[in-house]
């Protein structure tokens, strides 16, 4: 088949809302876009374990500790689902990790901010997982089968993540004045970076291009960001906290909130690696990977030995 014909058949399939599977023909650009997006998503899940891992040993109760552990373990799982989805496109796990370590592949900038105290565990679960959910619910309808199936599985697991964070915030917000202040400051710190998670405005978004036409993305950055804002402002009000945006107000005509502008210069700085924790996050990942090497080697050696025993017998 000619490429033009193939491209038409491919687009027709997408327009019929049929999923593209790994062995189907696909344009090279589609494959490339997916590898970039899925690997960035996978790396975010994995690097995202660090800011929360920071608080496991200092969780204020046993309940809080087991919850945080379970949440972080889920994120490791999410990373694995997504790496496997990326691998179906013909890239190996080694290459994916190599691209993370070399800086060629990105992960969500939100994880380059530090988590300063326990209230940040609340704000991260509530806002960061909350923003991730809005994005991932939308991606359940992405056109690539393995990515879509991964998103369905992840969405089932995410809702506890957001609820446990919101519960922490609610508890602190009705605690001592000092605790309430900590909760408000955590919201102040994490609100804007959380809005940044949806990426640049649609008009400045370099990667949108064919992503909408090919239904890799189903909603634009600005649409998703608006959805998140509209859900979250009310949740803040319920627990007596205030979103740190003086321009935030309900727009009756549009049926949604108007909001202030994100500081895009800071956003781009963090994307470019100048955030407070960029270097630390990558260093830690490399170190953990290197230190785990003997385990991989030992398991490989053991498997080989068992294999040769079997052959002798």
């Amino acid at each position: 088949m000619e490429d033009v014909e193939r491209l038409e058949a491919f687009q027709a399939k997408i327009d019929r809302e049929e999923k593209i599977e790994p062995k189907d023909w696909m344009p090279a650009e589609y494959r490339k876009h997916l590898i970039r997006q899925i690997s960035q998503h996978a790396h975010s899940e994995v690097i995202g374990m660090q800011p929360e891992g920071n608080w496991i040993t200092r969780a204020p109760s046993l309940r809080a500790k087991v919850v945080l552990l379970a949440k972080i373990q889920d994120e490791a799982g999410h990373g694995l689902y997504l790496y496997c989805a990326a691998e179906t496109l013909g890239i190996s796990r080694e290459e994916l990790l190599e691209q993370l370590h070399s800086g060629k592949a990105k992960y969500s900038s939100i994880f380059n901010y530090p988590t300063l105290n326990w209230a940040d565990m609340g704000a991260v679960g509530w806002l960061v997982d909350g923003a991730a959910i809005v994005n991932q619910v939308s991606l359940q309808r992405t056109s690539f089968g393995p990515y879509s199936r991964g998103m369905v599985r992840i969405c089932k697991e995410e809702s506890f993540h957001q609820r446990q964070g919101y519960e922490i915030m609610a508890t602190m917000a009705k605690g001592t004045p000092e605790q309430k202040r900590m909760a408000q400051e955590a919201l102040d710190r994490i609100w804007w970076p959380a809005l940044g998670m949806f990426g640049p405005h649609d008009k400045d978004s370099p990667n949108t291009g064919n992503a909408m036409k090919w239904k890799i993305k189903r909603e634009t950055n600005d649409e998703l960001r608006q959805k998140f804002i509209d859900k979250t402002v009310q949740q803040a009000e319920v627990i007596g906290l205030t979103v740190p945006d003086p321009d935030m107000k309900w727009n009756e005509d549009k049926g949604q909130y108007d909001h202030g502008e994100i500081d895009w210069e800071e956003f781009m700085n963090v994307v470019r690696g100048k955030g407070p924790c960029n270097a630390q996050r990558l260093e830690h990942h490399k170190k953990a990977h290197d230190e785990g090497r003997w385990v991989r080697d030992a398991a490989t050696a053991y498997a080989k030995k068992q294999q040769s025993k079997k052959q002798v017998a």
Partner: protein, 96 residues
């Protein structure tokens, strides 16, 4: 042992309840079957999603090609008589 590889790939099939068919859930990397099972358990059944797991080396799976799916499946295209609705039942007959 200088190649730091991530081990072979295994496909994971999970039976959610006894009596139901096994369903593909995803894949894991592991050096051998035993570890593949353990990794599959940790990755895909953290919330009691399964009663039983199969793992199969990915390269042991032989798959039909999506490009040929038209001709591959067409032997069954024109065999409507394999479906119960093909048959005309006499008026008034019950439980059939």
């Amino acid at each position: 042992m200088s190649v730091d590889n991530q081990w072979p790939l295994w496909e994971v099939f999970i039976q959610s309840k006894t009596g139901l068919p096994y369903k593909h859930s995803g894949s894991v990397h592991a050096p051998d079957g035993e570890m593949a099972l353990q990794n599959a358990r940790d990755t895909y059944t953290r919330r009691m999603e399964g009663t039983s797991i199969w793992v199969v080396p990915t390269d042991a799976i032989v798959a039909s090609s999506p490009d040929d799916s038209g001709s591959f499946f067409d032997p069954s295209d024109d065999k409507a008589y394999r479906h119960p609705t093909f048959y005309v039942m006499p008026e008034g007959a019950k439980h059939i």
